[in-house]
Symmetry: C2
Subunit: 204 residues, 2 copies
């Protein structure tokens, strides 16, 4: 933690436990990457996967975001898992349950593209890498895989019941938490699928 | 659309239809806000709601993000709805279904805090504003409500089946889309709830 990642608002929700950071990243499939271009921030969603003490992202070599990251621009990668709506007796005390991680730093191209793509694919689509053909040399050349070290980061977790003003407890309204979670729907086979095969299970 | 919001990667996925932008924002409860501080981007998740042609966000007057936004810092607000995992016959062509909106601009404090908080609350927790007491003067003074105009924005939608190389179609692997969606779990009443009331329905 540095002064840039010290949680100032609601510091009781902060965690400095690396295992908690890892657990959040391991449940996420998308990170929101912030980058600055001529003073203007841009925030883009990208697929991500943790690999040890770094966060992997990948994209096209034609992507402005990826190229700018690869050139050493400072970035912020934020991962947010929305876990529920917190309904207090007042609008003011209403909030959300979430687990959120923010990582600052500079991303670097990985040494071993193929291995990093395996980690990414196996995170996003467990078991899928094994089932698929290897990437071609052309595909590898068109893909930029970057790693952001998990060095400067903060984590914030909101998972408590609503905290209301004592005077509000007699208001006759329901209060509590409505949990939210991501679920899979029925797989939709590709129109050009030529085989009768079971659909695999995915991460999100 | 400006040169800053022209979609360069996969432009066929871009939409300039305002109704599409509105539909994305109206389904979102969280935006990722990017802001720059001394050259470093920061990306933070905040609750959001569309109000006509502006995006409302709110937070504590003690929040660094909110204060910096209110002071006229350029921001980027990105909303991403993850709709599914796209399983192609190759890792390279695998991707995700998503609807994503990026808004650039400068946020301004709203004229009518109370009305803006009503819009926010009614979006996040439909019908809840009616049921709750009005915010106190102290609560209003502690809350900053900002509006980001929907003027400079881009939208990107990925909703197609996997597009594979012709040579890959004979690989005997399942291909298609596994849809994802957010669902509510069973409401958890607050431990200090004093009334036997049904839980309300929330937005997300």
């Amino acid at each position: 933690m540095t002064s840039r990642t010290r949680v100032r608002r609601l510091p009781e929700k902060a965690s400095t436990d690396e295992a908690v950071l890892h657990a959040i990243l391991d449940q996420a499939v998308v990170a929101h990457i912030g980058i600055v271009d001529e003073g203007q921030p841009f925030v883009l969603p990208v697929a991500c996967a943790r690999d040890g003490d770094r966060l992997l992202v990948h994209g096209s070599t034609g992507s402005r975001l990826m190229r700018q990251m690869a050139q050493g621009s400072p970035v912020c990668a934020t991962v947010t898992l929305l876990d529920g709506m917190v309904l207090a007796r007042s609008a003011f005390n209403s909030s959300m349950h979430y687990r959120s991680a923010m990582i600052l730093g500079v991303a670097q191209p990985v040494d071993d593209d193929l291995e990093a793509l395996r980690v990414l694919t196996d995170h996003l689509l467990p078991g899928r890498w094994e089932a698929l053909r290897e990437p071609t040399r052309k595909e590898l050349a068109a893909t930029l895989v970057l790693a952001l070290p998990l060095r400067e980061w903060s984590v914030k977790i909101s998972d408590s019941p609503p905290e209301d003003e004592p005077d509000d407890l007699d208001d006759p309204v329901w209060a509590g938490v409505v949990p939210l979670r991501m679920v899979q729907g029925d797989p939709v086979p590709a129109p050009d699928l030529r085989f009768d095969l079971p659909a695999p299970v995915t991460q999100a």
